[in-house]
Symmetry: C2
Subunit: 289 residues, 2 copies
Amino acid sequence: MRRNVIFKGNCVRRLANESLFPNNSIDLIVTSPPYSDRRKSSYGGVRPDKYVDWFLPISDHLYRILKPKGSFILNIKENAHKGERQTYVIQLILALKERGWLWTEEYCWYKKNSYPGKWPNRFRDNWERCLHFTKQRSFQMYQDAVKVPIGEWSKKRFRSMTEKDFIRTVSRTNSRFGRNVANWLTKTKVYPHNVLDFEKEHYIEPTTVINFATECSNRNHSAPFPLELPSWFIKLFTRQGNVVLDPFMGIGTTAIAATLLARDYIGIELSAEYIQEARKHIRQLRRVR
Amino acid sequence: MRRNVIFKGNCVRRLANESLFPNNSIDLIVTSPPYSDRRKSSYGGVRPDKYVDWFLPISDHLYRILKPKGSFILNIKENAHKGERQTYVIQLILALKERGWLWTEEYCWYKKNSYPGKWPNRFRDNWERCLHFTKQRSFQMYQDAVKVPIGEWSKKRFRSMTEKDFIRTVSRTNSRFGRNVANWLTKTKVYPHNVLDFEKEHYIEPTTVINFATECSNRNHSAPFPLELPSWFIKLFTRQGNVVLDPFMGIGTTAIAATLLARDYIGIELSAEYIQEARKHIRQLRRVR
DNA sequence: AGCTCTTATGAATCATTGA
DNA sequence: GTCAATGATTCATAAGAGC
């Protein structure tokens, strides 16, 4: 299987090629497909009522090529129409389960730069779904790789408590700290939770982020998600040398994250312009390293 | 219609009483029903596969008694079972739409206080859904009541500008400050977004929150949500003197929030113990006021 | 390098208008 | 009727220029 390549072309047709994509060969899929009725210029747009039917053939191939212990992260958010949230995303969850996927978790990506606007019936949309699907109940997950400094949340949670107060509280309530309260207190890092709140937690070297951000602000080439998003899932669900696939590669954010983290990538993308942009980014990364 | 009362008893049977609950009489419903298979001791538990059928008769009554321009906020989160997120919540969304409700929005409540825990396949669950249903596309929404302080960026941005400078800049460049340019210079508050992140925003007097929170944590009574949660929706969707209903009242968080905000409340609760607790809190509030 | 200030724009949504 | 295009609205961040 060729690695560290971007294939140009239609997503389903490429995935159907079994020599390019053998069964059980991919460790992680991270992708953000075009949302319903968005990205019309580059992808033609998908009608909400056709969305599930459009996506299922793709997801069937993804199921075939994903390793049994691999993960599939689907970043998506339904838009509002005629005053209501569309239902195609939750319909898709149900449909994917019927096709054999396990809906393991829904991570919440707490975006900080939502689009401005004011409407009589809603506020700005500041979060997106990161749906986690797997093929099996047991799968690869390297939780230690995404631990965060304890300060961030514990300070807030127990802001006003002294250490003795804290221990007393813990032993009085039947909390899950268990007996190792002291151990827990001296720990410097803890496991994160399922809300992705990247502002405070700098997972990637800031200089790298800035370099990338600079590059990707070129006109007409928008990155649907920031580098931290695929980076977080790549660290969580893969080890060095594993293969990460993004079937809707765009300007290559997933590939860049994989490269920075010493994983291999495979991308599929329809737009020649986006591919060119992605390759340029990756070349620059290689030069820096 | 009697107001500021808590009715003891079964939710559906109480709601079916048309003299207690006339048609189109409630301004806002805020509730957190027992989640599937949780709170077995107080509610007996509801099987995941029966959850939708269990809830629909309740929601039909809620539809009947809610005013046409009223709102229904459903705080809920599916639990995980056998490695997967359950689907009863998203099934419920689809079912409620079929019964006539409009699924207007899904607010994300970003909880900050979940206790540590570790599982091989997931992290701690730090967010819950607050589903917003309405009967009509146009409904009561008092957005100004929940404005939040503008970000720090604005101070730097506008610090050195006179109004004329600013207007000149705006008309020269393409910046999207809209038509009423001068507003930006004096703006101190902006509209929030759809992620409820209460840490930064102290909507309720801190002392009140602390008193209530302390009361809750000292006993074994579960407060399904903090005071800020119903308070935010009450301010957003009602005015003073309006009526707020919580058909699963618990220890009375919604009633307390309504009382503090000078709204009337109606509660329904099965557990005599919870009702006693709720009434005690409300009495204390009255004394304080 | 590090800071300030300027400029640009991002998976948006709704009401209105015209076909 | 439905559907598509247009205008109006709005917050936060990052790149780029200048010192």
